[in-house]
């Protein structure tokens, strides 16, 4: 077979693979230019990402929030909206869950101390509700402003991000600040609210939220592919005018989509907050919300592909951490370079899809 033809057919059949390979190559070339042996760099990253049970665990820890934020961006995207506010929604969601858990811990110490499975499950549901509802409320506001008042969702959601950061910082420092530390973090929540952790990862706090993330992805996929609810959202995203002519209230679909996106983003922070220390720390999210955009884009907005895409970016994040002390010329920021390149090549694929027969 003609190698050129072969390359072309791969390019069109699995464009995401092309995007990953080209992004990785470009990033490693950058490392080579900086004076590192690119194969050495690649090896370090692979080892750091999946080298030991602990490393695998940490990769999953980083993957968990990305699944949710990726789904959040994807839901909005499929309905024709761009949710750049996942970061703010996840911070507020996390804060709400922490605040509710802290208040309940103070009010019902017996309940908070219950570490049986049923106690933990109740705690998880309470925290999930708090996070989902607040995240969803912010999404609802953004959707409402877009649908009924005409403010563009990108602008309002960026603004919401700033509000969310400022507001949660104030809450952490003024209302829930831990008495036993100088760090900008809250007191720890009661044990019942700490997420169920999986053993077998040498202490890496892989929580139940990872599994919930995968289940949620399946649920969203089902919603989009098999229900009228999802179809209506999709129709608005693909052709809002035709949707209007078919009798769909596109404004309402926008509000629903943004609210759902907010709920999903609200869940993003829970694994980190409730899984490890059990506290809300200012700046705990290393841009999970924004990386969610990259995750969703690489997956083309398909919920199940988001699981794989989130795993890739989670591994990339974990893998790059070791670069700080294993190499002389590159740091963990190389992950950002590769991520950026992958997104760039993944975006180019939309262009190709339209042009290719």
């Amino acid at each position: 077979m003609n190698p050129l033809h072969f390359g072309k057919s791969i390019f069109f059949r699995w464009p995401w693979l092309t995007a990953i390979m080209m992004g990785l190559t470009t990033g490693l070339c950058a490392a080579a230019v900086a004076g590192e042996n690119p194969f050495h760099v690649l090896l370090i990253m692979i080892k750091a990402a999946v080298g030991s049970p602990y490393d695998v665990g940490m990769t999953l820890v980083y993957t968990t929030p990305l699944i949710f934020s990726g789904l959040s961006v994807a839901v909005a995207y499929r309905a024709g909206l761009f949710n750049i506010g996942a970061e703010g929604q996840l911070v507020v969601g996390g804060m709400a869950a922490t605040a509710v858990a802290l208040r309940l811990s103070a009010l019902l110490p017996d309940f908070a101390a219950d570490t049986s499975f049923s106690g933990k499950a109740a705690g998880m549901i309470v925290c999930g509700l708090a996070a989902g509802l607040t995240g969803g409320f912010i999404g609802l506001m953004i959707g409402y402003l877009r649908a009924r008042r005409g403010s563009h969702e990108v602008v309002t959601s960026i603004m919401m991000n700033f509000l969310a950061m400022a507001f949660t910082s104030w809450l952490v420092l003024e209302k829930f600040h831990s008495t036993d530390t100088q760090n900008p973090e809250t007191s720890p929540v009661g044990n019942a609210f700490k997420a169920i952790n999986f053993r077998g990862f040498d202490g890496a706090p892989v929580t139940i939220w990872f599994v919930i993330g995968i289940l949620t992805a399946g649920l969203i996929a089902f919603l989009f592919d098999r229900t009228m609810f999802g179809f209506r959202l999709r129709a608005c995203g693909e052709n809002p005018v035709a949707a209007t002519f078919a009798g769909i209230d596109t404004g309402r679909q926008m509000i629903i989509a943004m609210a759902l996106a907010g709920v999903l983003a609200g869940f993003s922070g829970l694994g980190d907050i409730l899984g490890g220390a059990g506290r809300f720390r200012i700046g705990f999210s290393s841009d999970y919300g924004f990386t969610g955009i990259a995750v969703a884009l690489l997956a083309g907005g398909r919920p199940l592909a988001i699981i794989a895409s989130a795993l890739l970016f989670g591994a990339l994040h974990k893998g790059a951490l070791d670069l700080d002390f294993e190499t002389d010329h590159v740091t963990r920021d190389l992950a950002m370079v590769i991520q950026g390149c992958v997104v760039l090549f993944a975006s180019a694929r939309w262009f190709n899809r339209i042009k290719s027969p």
Partner: protein, 519 residues
């Protein structure tokens, strides 16, 4: 720059189109177009939508190149590869939609196209032509009429001696039209040649020295304008535009007796929306096709959208719309669609009717999306089967299509839409331009499908700019002009419709006006 008078008067121009042909994708848009125009003349160019006027002017202005034939300027053959070259040769065009930047002043616009020393020249031109325009004002402060003057002035300052005006009076209010026509005469007297494209035949008759009528891509006739004893009348122009040879054959589907119970009942629907106002009462009965004739942009689209509630209720809107006896006034678009079954063939099938990146099953689903089916699991396999059935039944090609709707041809997309909407057995069908851009055979199939739906008991409101189509399908024809229904025509069992009368009513003329036309 030389003074205007001498410049124009000494530079007489004559333009001739000789046997111009142009086709797009096999469809002829212009066939053997020939006419000429020279300084001191206003040439009217009239014809229905799609008659080929725009294509013709686009060739003269260098937007597209002709397939065959030649354009002669002062007897010399020229080829324009871009509008720039046409402008250089002295041809200017004022488009229906202005190309102006709201924040710039009139003078800045002129400087942009004609250099910074244009001021004195512009003042002189304005004086000569009787323009009333403050050059220091920003465009956003100018009235629509003044913006139009600015557009004409731009073209003149670029040195145009032939000025093409595309539907110039469509944007003007009635009181602005008189002065505008005066200014056209001044342009003519100052030695410019003007080509006036218009749907408003009385205006054309008032100012034009000659009138070229186009129909189906050909020149259907050339008439002398006002001031000539043997001049044209609105009547003669209208029948030349529409063509006497309207076919009255009934096709393969025979129509049964129209019903008497109303399916659609609109009572005093009023929208006082300024330029787009609406003031309509009409009834569509069971087993009846009611055609709406009218020049595009006279409220047909708004009426259509008001019935479906796709346009929001405007301030001061009044009147009631009922479908199958259900009053729709208070309902949202979603409610309306779940309360009554309406089949919709929208104006633009690609942007308004289809999800172009979806397959046929997806597109089939689109018309069944009402809140009552909210919780249902989508039966994709069933939908695929039904899509295949529809493809076979309505002769949609390729028959075993599973790809995106985008890649179907226009005619097949339309047939798919017809299949989708008719198979739901709607009580009311709203059809807009159902066969626009569709070939003859598919048009026939679509017409048959509409007639079958009618015979089955549906009421059809049909909007079309194709008179033949209206006459073929309709049981009654209403003519819409400026948001109002101005006259009603009934099908005569033996002779069909009064085509000339319809054509006249569309452009605001009447039988009486036709005999005495134009002073």
């Amino acid at each position: 720059m030389p003074p205007l008078k001498s410049k124009i008067r000494e530079n007489k121009i004559q333009i001739e189109l000789r046997d111009i042909c142009k086709s797009f994708g096999g469809n002829p848009a212009n066939v053997g177009i020939s006419f000429q125009v020279s300084s001191g003349e206003i040439l009217g160019l009239v014809g229905e939508n799609g008659a080929g006027k725009s294509t013709c002017m686009n060739m003269l202005f260098g937007h597209v190149e002709p397939d065959r034939g030649s354009i002669l300027v002062d007897g010399k053959e020229v080829r324009f590869r871009s509008p720039k070259e046409a402008i250089k040769a002295g041809i200017g065009m004022v488009h229906q939609h202005f190309l102006l930047a709201p924040a710039l002043t009139a003078l800045e616009h002129l400087e942009l196209v004609a250099g910074s020393d244009v001021h004195a020249y512009a003042i002189e031109a304005m004086h000569e032509l009787g323009f009333d325009l403050d050059l220091k004002r920003r465009v956003e402060q100018l009235s629509v009429g003044q913006q139009q003057q600015l557009e004409i002035l731009k073209v003149i300052c670029q040195g145009a001696r032939v000025i093409i005006l595309d539907e110039p009076t469509a944007v003007l209010t009635p009181v602005e039209v008189g002065p505008f026509l005066q200014r056209l005469r001044r342009l003519q007297e100052s030695g410019h040649a003007v080509i006036l494209i218009s749907h408003k035949l009385d205006e054309v008759l008032q100012v034009c020295s000659r009138i070229v009528v186009m129909r189906a891509g050909r020149v259907a006739g050339t008439f002398a304008g006002a001031g000539d004893v043997h001049g044209a009348s609105v009547d003669s122009l209208a029948s030349a535009m529409i063509g006497e040879a309207v076919s009255h054959d009934q096709g393969t589907v025979l129509r049964n007796e129209p019903g008497t119970s109303p399916v659609l009942d609109i009572v005093n629907l009023k929208r006082p929306d300024g330029a787009e106002s609406l003031n309509v009462s009409l009834v569509v009965n069971q087993r009846e096709i009611v055609g709406i004739a009218g020049v595009q942009g006279n409220g047909q689209e708004l009426l259509f959208k008001a019935i479906l509630r796709i346009v929001p209720r405007s301030r001061g809107e009044s009147g009631t719309i009922s479908v199958s006896g259900k009053e729709l006034s208070g309902m949202s678009a979603e409610k309306i669609r779940s309360a009554v079954r309406i089949g919709v063939l929208p104006f633009d099938r690609r942007s308004e009717g289809l999800l172009l990146d979806g397959d046929s099953a997806t597109n089939l689903l689109l018309s069944g999306v009402n809140p009552s089916s909210f919780r249902r699991i989508i039966p994709w396999n069933l939908l695929r089967l039904r899509a295949r059935e529809f493809f076979a039944k309505y002769g949609i090609l390729p028959a075993n299509w599973t790809g995106h709707a985008r890649l179907l041809s226009g005619g097949n997309q339309q047939k798919f839409l017809v299949a989708r909407e008719m198979e739901q057995e709607p009580a009311l069908i709203l059809a807009a331009h159902p066969t626009r851009g569709v070939d003859w055979r598919s048009s026939r199939q679509i017409h048959d499908a509409l007639l079958l739906a009618r015979n089955r008991g549906a009421g059809v409101l049909l909007i079309s700019s194709d008179i033949d189509e209206l006459c073929r399908l309709s049981d009654r024809i209403l003519v819409m002009l400026r948001g109002k229904i101005v006259s009603e025509f009934r099908r005569d069992i033996h002779r069909g419709f009064d085509v000339t009368g319809i054509g006249l009513a569309m452009v605001g003329g009447s039988k009486n006006a036709a005999s005495g036309v134009v002073s």
